[in-house]
Symmetry: D3
Subunit: 340 residues, 6 copies
């Protein structure tokens, strides 16, 4: 399969075992994850030739993060080593009406303080077919923005398709900062992923009275929003996931894709959640794989939704599923019968 590049931060995830709270636990489960790294692992799993670009400290914790990517077949040749530290996020998994909690400790990480010169983007994007980034990398620091911008330029120069998952993070920047930065990056983007709140906060597009908490999402409403955005930014596709949050244990899950002319609202899944962190990233990677390998946007979206529905049943940030498993679910088998 084809070469894909993703760029961003991979963090050490420290999660409490079972449903224990932060103040109860004596051990942390270790995973490594981050939006673009999660996309990289998932695409490597689907057989693509994936390179993850980042910077990690030159110590054994940084090495463990590199190993976590190599383990699942992601190329780490372009991960610079150096800087102060690896970013961390602490995760406490919720249940029923108790939400999961995330505490970030990511300031001053190696990638947040990396230089554009740490990366040889011409080498990185040579023969590359697809480049994916998220709105998190430009948010982590001024340098993060500069690196993302350089990467976008290089990607376009090498004729990559570029996808962006907006992922607005209020703890990293203000809406003003976000809109200035993200609007500079949008010209490079072919495929945009983002819900209404992301679009409003990252780009300045105002959503109209949709209460996402309640789940009364409307595909048509999204289609209208996306049609406008496509007119302005010339995206090929705009895509959003529609999460219905009944509780920390049960969610509804579907997605919508629009090309500015017509939209498709995918099949909807009822999910019993094991680990929902990385759900959005597994959707992005499913979508990228779908758009690279299926002939229609409808199939691509169905693959992405099935893939990300499965992610919610897998511990850790990474979506460790095969194409075959996703396709079985896509075709309608939700029976969960034992595979012998």
């Amino acid at each position: 399969m084809k070469k894909v590049v993703t760029l961003g931060e991979i963090m050490l995830r420290l999660s409490t075992p079972g449903y224990t709270r932060f103040v109860q636990t004596d051990t942390f489960d270790i995973n490594y994850g981050g939006g673009e790294a999660n996309v990289a692992v998932s695409l490597a799993n689907y057989g693509h030739d994936v390179y993850f670009v980042s910077k990690l400290p030159d110590n054994q914790i940084g090495q463990a993060a590199v190993n976590s990517l190599r383990r699942y077949g992601v190329h780490t040749d372009y991960i610079a080593r150096g800087g102060e530290r690896i970013g961390i996020y602490y995760l406490e998994t919720g249940a029923s009406m108790r939400p999961s909690n995330v505490i970030y400790d990511r300031a001053h990480s190696s990638i947040a303080e990396a230089d554009v010169d740490d990366f040889d983007f011409d080498a990185i994007f040579k023969d590359c077919a697809w480049f994916h980034f998220t709105g998190i990398t430009p948010a982590i620091s001024r340098k993060g923005f500069e690196i993302t911008l350089k990467a976008c330029e290089a990607a376009k120069k090498h004729h990559c398709t570029v996808s962006c998952d907006l992922n607005f993070r209020k703890k990293l920047w203000t809406t003003e900062e976000a809109q200035i930065a993200m609007n500079q990056l949008m010209p490079y983007v072919d495929v945009l992923i983002g819900n209404e709140e992301d679009c409003e906060k990252s780009l300045g597009y105002k959503p109209q009275n949709v209460d996402v908490t309640k789940g009364n999402v409307e595909a048509i409403h999204y289609h209208n929003l996306f049609t406008e955005m496509i007119k302005k930014y010339h995206f090929q596709y705009c895509v959003a996931t529609l999460r219905e949050s009944y509780s920390a244990s049960d969610n509804g899950w579907s997605a919508i894709i629009s090309d500015g002319k017509e939209y498709y609202h995918s099949r909807r899944y009822d999910i019993r959640i094991v680990d929902r962190v990385g759900g959005g990233d597994s959707f992005a990677s499913g979508l990228i794989h779908g758009l690279m390998t299926y002939s229609t946007k409808e199939e691509a979206l169905d693959f992405a939704v099935a893939a990300s529905a499965l992610k919610h049943t897998i511990p850790g940030d990474f979506n460790l599923v095969s194409i075959k498993e996703v396709e079985t679910l896509m075709k309608g088998d939700t029976s969960g019968r034992v595979q012998r």
Copy 2:
């Protein structure tokens, strides 16, 4: 916040990991818990100045029990040390239609064989605003009853509000024994917590054809019962939780409060259960906090029900939630969306 005192037994809880049965496991998870200790920890968590009064053996297992309380901010100054042993309960967590099992091994514990002289109740209740006990302490032994009675007298002398959770335990005493003892304690009680079965067995109040197993409980029925009891005992409030037991995994949960004039039936929650032991105690502590800090019984009850709904999602006896988490749920957000 104000000084609160609870008195009773804290036991070593030995529970099987996951859903394993007693005969399968090679390890026990360790927690410490008991009705009044659970109330103490929860109130300390809400910021109150809480003292737990008990007696524990003067060995390192007793010390570990003391530490489990200190860890969560409960004052242990008035825990006497000595006696033979700490009481134990073994817990096997059920799932679906398989119920949880509890095996008690609590006879001959230090608190069951403690003397009234082990405690300086005048010092204990100085400047105390609230005293809480349950029907378990008078049930564990004759001395347990005497200590409870002395504590009630001292609490009243120091103008504490007194709450009692009836908690009838058929393995500890007969209904005859219970009724004689509990009726001696009722004159000291301002806030009574108990369901119909407790009221009947502990006090002699006969419930009328209510099948608690099926969940067809009626608020009005409770109000009538409570109105009569308030007339007789001059309680300020009578309160009961209404558990609808669909299975060991799923319960409905609400509560009713009556002041003899009017009643309030709280919001109802559907709970996916992680650990339901201590659910009633988390309700009692939520109620005490609610009555101490909110201006209406309705708010107090809503706080108590939300707090105890959350408890069902937390491993161990203790309800480790913050006021803010309870209030978020009280205000209606059951979405369980990740808190970043």
Copy 3:
């Protein structure tokens, strides 16, 4: 209670902890299991005098398998020791729409390469009341078939009731091989357990448009099928479980029994699944116990269904429940209230 014999393979089961996937885990949980061994343990648990007959390698892993049976009271006197290896199956537990996966590594096991001479069937079946086998043992090897046939002959000679759970396994043999072998064994069988697919593949009975995945099973349809089969094979009873696979986490569960004249469709349970492996075997053992101790086929079936519903909540292959627990559920208490 009476002597019961089961014969077959017991395997080392290596399962990933929690919901982790094979490629994520650093540890395996160890259990031992296999259709006939699972039946043996469950019957020993109900108080029967059970002998499990098999062959295991003469090393400490083989010994651990023997010990796993002794631990739960199964007699292991007739387990031959020797051969190359113990069969293994790897298990990854699914959740929601992600199915559980089983990878078998059972070829060349000691029992698959055992000789008829390894077993003294006259001694084994002396004073035996019931013999149980499954369609797996004749499938594992030619020798497995020969041993099963010899056992059937001996069992009949000693006037045992014989039950067979068809359990067609497509990875072990073809339908042609299965039908030749199984038809040779049917004359010895009194109680047959099998769903439509089993009957078709193992015996050549063709099911009519029943989509088992969807759960739209029809008792009447089964009754017709079973009536025909009873005519042909002179079974006393034909029995089938009806699993409705909503997902890997939630199943509906009931069963049907027919004596060729009338049928009974049991109560139906909604199950939240902890571990469904061994569910069918727990049904078989429940049925054997039921037919040995209750006076009607209806009660026997109700016991079997309740017993196997409970199994789905217990980790491991073995159904570690007591008669009392099954009977409580049989009588309708699905409340899951804590047993103190």
Copy 4:
């Protein structure tokens, strides 16, 4: 091999994992053990037909204790069920100069409150070749003494060889109580195991300036002591282990046997300790096996010392070693080379 009976208490052992202290741990490792149960398991492991006689509560914790014995092949037919509780001991494993700590919580256990009538000693000792007990059982209660006495009488009546491990426990009785009781039991004993302190405290034999802590034990000194004792009590053999306690991690280990005429001081081992609890019991079982199967007391003792040296490397109370492993060590191979 021959039938052997041991009688005593089996306790639930709750130990902290690794080298954690009681106040640090969140889990307990579960084992079951007790002097006579440990001897039973070890002898079953050597192929003897062993029955352990005791009483355990009729709950699932009692059942788990029964299962722990069955798992290793001990017959549990004569374990009475009933009474209040299983005795417990808490264990914290030491290291280097930090000693292991044991906290007992064994009062009021089912066996301590058992009646002589709970046991049919005629059935128990039928065809029995050897009976083993320790000084712990008569110490746990008056009833414990009575049961032990009855057992000794019945054992002698059935021509068993009787062995006793003195095991004086200062927390269970005074030296006065011990000496009265133990002197009543000595007439039945053929093989006595005990160090100087045991002999002094349990029987009234005064040791002469031997500092056991320092390890300067003298075989000749023991021989003299034993010769006197054999004259008085007509023992066949007196045996003692000689532990040199350098630290909680390193011990020297040997033993001496005397028949009143000549003595033999075994080979001495330097042991790196994994778990020394049950070390003395593994010696007793090794000695019993040795005396039952070897032709000389020297070989018997060498087997016992090698067996118990190996026990110190195995977690839990039970000595899970084979005759072959012990004999390899006996013959001098301490190289610890990997067995492939």
Copy 5:
């Protein structure tokens, strides 16, 4: 016992289980520790009234650190809450010739960025008898130095004895920076703890050809060094531990104290190491307790050395031993015999 104050940083310690390396592990064991916090816990354990002063982030990880101190009886009233993050150190435990590895990630911690105004030192040192700090706090930041200086001034104003453990950390500052800062703090110090390397790097005192790696330390040499230092700084005592590092598993351990007139070299212990992190802190706390409660410097030092020898056998930073355990070892019992 008397009030003691310690001031400094408490970090989250993330250590690999067993002897696994950073790149192997999937879980971290959680402990909290730091020089002055370790001293606080140990002194609380000896019964002193200890306050630990620091600043921690206002999130649940910060709360867990607070709880770890409360659990062992340390008062946390003066821990300010706020700032960005808790400092972290990663620990990989070595064995044999493989050393333990520590990776620090402590920059930007709440305490490193705290203000002098975060602490009310007059309240803190009211009725305080002893103040302890280390050379780490002034090294973590300029603000850390200022806070330490203010604390020293306040401590002296309230007539506390002041002890300082030099603990030079080359990753935190240069020798030049250290010497300027530490020389400003020395006038407040009564008891100085530091080995030759610390004295040279922190204060500018040059050691003479002592190869600490080899363990050929000389008490007399230290006495001379300390005598000079006492002349200059007017310390009451200078103290140093003498570690002989044979390997990561085995160390020799003793200490020397000098009052400028005479010195005492303590007993020496051979230690089998479980966890040597916090060994120096356990010495400091033992010394403080010793000097506060024994009448001679010799006894104080012997207590400190025995206490810290024991620490090496306990997992985690904290020295969880009782006075009684230390005194038993002090009196010479290194036998490690089981305490029943």
Copy 6:
């Protein structure tokens, strides 16, 4: 660094946690390992460009084995997928005088049944500098021998240096079979690793009265043996490790190298063992790295011995150490002082 190829079997290693025995454990720790895979990982760790060649089943257990290699940077491009199963070995870790036990279950593995055609040796050995194999691969099956022979031919054709670790395994073949096969492979070998027993059994070279168990090995004796062998086979170097097996916990460790003219006996280490499996392989990889990068055979050997001494302190088959760590030890620092 340069391209290196190793060829052989990688197995699933299932080991009991801590020092538990096979019959005690409820979980297995998972590692993957095998002589040539271990060498590959270690060389990748030293920065070489390493390819491991083998065949693994096309299931998720096979994938996990592939991932275990990728994780540590080994290229897995030439691992064929298919066949029946992955070989397994069960490991029980010994302590003190109790040896570790290995139970092999490796027959019928994918690599044992692989074809020469599964591998494109011309592609594999293109630009390769070094090829390493062991005597295990030709022993596992006739096909294993053929593949090894083909690999040797191709390696020589591409001018690789070839090393062979004899590793005679008596459970895989007879000495006759071994000698026929290995003598066919020797002409391709430049560097031979093997102790006396290996040389005798694999090649027919008779050792002279050396009791390897006792550790009285003599360098001179080896030099003589090696000189003869070099004359016959034209090896460049012959190398042997000298293990002194004091117990399963403590070993002495050194090595000897001879070029037929002069020999060098390395420094000797006393090792406290954590996991000795893979010790020999870590020596082989250290030697290969040493001979590829150092200028003298003495330095190469010292590197190899230090590297493999360190391996004994690391759990699992793989030697996860850096060049820097090995060189620090090589230079004499065995102090094990904490690296901060």
